[in-house]
Each structure stands twice: as C-alpha cells, then as structure tokens.
C-alpha cells in the first residue's frame, strides 16, 4: 500500500460568505502525478494554499507528508517544493540574494542541478526580481523549488507566463523529476495537453467539489459521447444513470455519459435509435463537458 503523501479530508472553505470548497476528499499516493483541473475561480488555488498551510480551512483538515498542513515544521517544509500562483517571489530583492537565502535555508540543495537550470534558463543573478519578465520569474521559481530535492512538488499553474518553448522545457524538467523514483507531484493547470502528457491521475474541480477524481486513461474510457439518430422525436428522458449532458436537435441527440459500459450500450439500444455513433472526445472536450454542467456527476 503506497504512502499517501497528500490528503484532504472533508475540506470546506468559505470566503466572504461564498462557499469556495464544499467538501473535498483527496488522496495522492507517493509517486503519483496528480493534475488538478478546473475553471478560473473554481478553487484550485484555494485548495492548494490550504494544503500548503497558507490558508486555514473552515472545516476539515489537510495532511501533507503525514503532518497537518496547518502545523508543518521547518524540516517538513524542506521536503516540499512549492510554486505559488503568480510567481511573485520577493520583487524588491536581487535574484542572487534570494537564491542565497533559499540555499541557506534548505536542508538539501542540489547545486549542480540548480546551476544547470540557471544556465539553461539564463537567469540573471544581479538583477532585481521585479525586473525579470513573468516567464523568467516562473523559471526561477521552478528552479528554486526543484533544487531542494523535494519529495513532493506542489505547483500552482506553473506554466503561467511561459512561452511555448519554455513550457516544453518545464515539461521536460517535470519528466526528469518524475523519473527520480518516489517523487510525487501535485499540479494545477489550464493547459490540458500538458496535463495529458504528465499526469497519472486527474481531478476536476467543479462547484467546489471534485466532480472527477480518477486515473487519466480511465477518464477517456469512461466518459463517452454518442450521436444518436432516431426515426422520430428522440425520447425526452432516458432511464440512464450518469448522464453528463444531453442535447437534442431535431431527430438527433448528443448524449454524454460517464461510467460507460456495455450495459448502458444495451440499454440505449432498447430505445431503438436508427444510428448510434461515438463522438471522439479529447481530454479538453471531456473537461468542457464536465465543467459546463450545473450539477456535476461524479466519475
């Protein structure tokens, strides 16, 4: 049984009267690459901040490396590499000074790896952080997070501000980290093709809940979209569970179903459609279908 590195138990967060997180249960085992998806404002950053102890939950608790996220010791924090949203760092500091502070605080520091990243990204040591472009700040942030040889990497929208080439460099870095055994990564992203490349497991935050929380390839297998053509008006209601979306146009019905299997297939055929074809769905399509629906269905 793999060690659970990140765990959320019934996390609820109210912010200024609004419910941002409505009962999040999450388990990320060691070695897993977990991609957290959701629309803007869905609560990804809030969830990550609670996991890192930057915010207190209204109810429930979060555990990181076995310890309560609100009471992480310095040593425990040293085992986590965290890249916060926005790549702010400390704008008024010189890059070199920031680096030496991080190096001095870290219990473990891979100078060779860090030096390699600095030269790859061409990070200037003598400029102030605020003088760097967003992209360079993102790269600096990532380099500082990865240099501490973390057991757990928590990345909140790490590719924000990176151009295509820099994003590719980041992905290659991530693969490098994954290949070092036992490392766990939890990251949130908007770029679904990136998530598809590197994630093992995917979670989609909709309406403050995890509408989806399953292995990535299971997601594509289990969510299916069908185009059904009927002889006459399509039936209003289908006695089928886990319907994510249902759209009718004339004699045609577009149906998106979660947890697809042969039973559902057989069931559908009893409604006697003339034609039934599968509409291919990429991860992006699945994401859009899941997040556009008002009451999400758990997959």
């Amino acid at each position: 049984m793999a060690k659970i590195v990140v765990e959320a138990q019934g996390l609820v967060k109210f912010y200024e009267g609004r419910c941002v997180l409505d009962g999040i249960d999450l388990k990320v085992p060691q070695g897993c690459i977990y991609g957290l998806l959701g629309r803007n404002g869905a609560g990804k950053t809030t969830l990550i901040r609670i996991l890192m102890g930057q915010e207190t939950p209204t109810r429930g608790q979060a555990l990181v490396l076995g310890a309560n996220s609100q009471r992480l010791s310095a040593a425990q924090r040293g085992r986590v590499g965290y890249v916060a949203e926005g790549h702010q760092l400390v704008p008024s500091w010189r890059v070199g000074w920031l680096v030496s502070l991080c190096r001095g605080l870290a219990p473990r520091w891979d100078e060779r790896f860090f030096g390699h990243l600095v030269s790859t990204f061409k990070l200037p040591m003598d400029r102030k952080v605020k003088q760097l472009s967003t992209g360079m700040r993102a790269q600096l942030n990532l380099a500082l997070a990865m240099a501490v040889e973390p057991e757990l990497l928590v990345l909140d929208d790490p590719t924000l501000g990176l151009d295509t080439a820099a994003r590719r460099e980041f992905l290659e870095l991530a693969i490098d980290v994954i290949q070092r055994d036992g490392r766990t990564i939890l990251f949130s992203s908007h770029i679904l093709s990136d998530v598809e490349r590197i994630a093992d497991r995917v979670g989609i935050l909709v309406g403050g809940r995890l509408a989806v929380d399953c292995p990535l390839e299971a997601l594509k297998r289990r969510v299916r979209k069908l185009r059904l053509v009927f002889a006459e008006t399509p039936p209003q209601r289908l006695a089928l569970t886990d319907i994510v979306r249902q759209e009718v146009q004339g004699r045609e019905m577009l149906l998106t179903v979660a947890d697809w299997d042969e039973h559902k297939q057989a069931y559908l055929e009893t409604y006697g459609p003339i034609n039934c074809s599968v509409v291919p769905m990429s991860l992006e399509d699945i994401f859009l279908e899941c997040t556009s629906r008002r009451t999400p269905v758990a997959v």
Binding site: I33, R168, L171, E172, I175, D176, I178, Q179, L192, S193, E196, R197, I198, A199, D200, L216, E217, K220, R221, V278, P280, M281, S282, L283, E284, D285
Partner: protein
C-alpha cells in the same frame, strides 16, 4: 522509431503508443528481435509520463507483440498474438464492419473496394496463410 501522439484524440495515449508500435511492426519498419527504446528514453523523448510508456509496453507484451527481458530491455517478439482465434476474428470483423459502413455511406462500389483492399494487402506484405487459420483471404 517515430511516435506521434495526438492529444486532441479520444484514444488514450498509452494505446496510441501501442498502436504505433504495432503499425511499425506491420509495415516492416521494425523487425523481430529489434530492441525498443527503454521506458526512460522514450518518456524523455516524447515528454510523456514514464508510467504511460510502461503501460503501453505492458499492453504490447500482453498482446504478445514485444518481450521484455529483465536487465536487457524490450524486444519485438517472434510470431503472432496470444489472443484466441475467436477473439482475433471478432476484432478484425468489427473493423471490417466499420469499414463497410463508411464505404456504403460514401457510395463506394464493390469493385473499387476490392481493388483498394488488394493494394493494401500488397503494401503490408500480407502473409498468404496466418498461424493456425485455414482461411484464405482476398
């Protein structure tokens, strides 16, 4: 071995990889006994999670396309798949049905279709007799 992943596609990435290895074998681009890149090599090259690559390799091994020798690597296997004959027939017939439906919709006639199938058989260097089946094709 060139592998391209289509991220807009509905087919899971690991199956796409498996498909392309199978295609390369069928087209003769890789021969029996050829060594495949390691999981690490391929994951770095394609920039894809090594677990996905590993899953693809496991799938290929399950289908009998490749053999993994511990400490040595993965190699293209000799011979045919382990799937039973009935299952093989079912899978191929399903593909044929799909092809038929498309062809009908596009109003292709019998002769055109046969011609194209013949060309494909030649291109893929189809064996006259498969392992253990007595059926003739074409």
């Amino acid at each position: 071995m060139l592998i391209q992943i289509d991220h807009g596609c509905d087919r899971p990435v690991y199956l796409q990889i498996a498909d392309q290895v199978k295609r390369d074998v069928a087209l003769g681009r890789v021969a029996e006994g050829d060594r495949l890149p390691t999981v690490r090599e391929l994951s770095s090259r394609l920039v894809i999670n090594p677990n996905t690559i590993a899953k693809a390799y496991r799938e290929l091994e399950h289908q009998g396309i490749i053999i993994t020798r511990p400490g040595s690597g993965s190699y293209i296997a000799q011979g045919s798949s382990r799937l039973s004959e009935a299952v093989r027939e079912k899978l191929i017939r399903e593909q044929i049905d799909r092809l038929m439906v498309e062809a009908i919709h596009m109003q292709i006639d019998r002769r055109q279709l046969f011609g194209w199938i013949d060309e494909a058989l030649a291109k893929f260097k189809f064996p006259e007799k498969g392992a253990g089946d007595g059926e003739d094709r074409g």
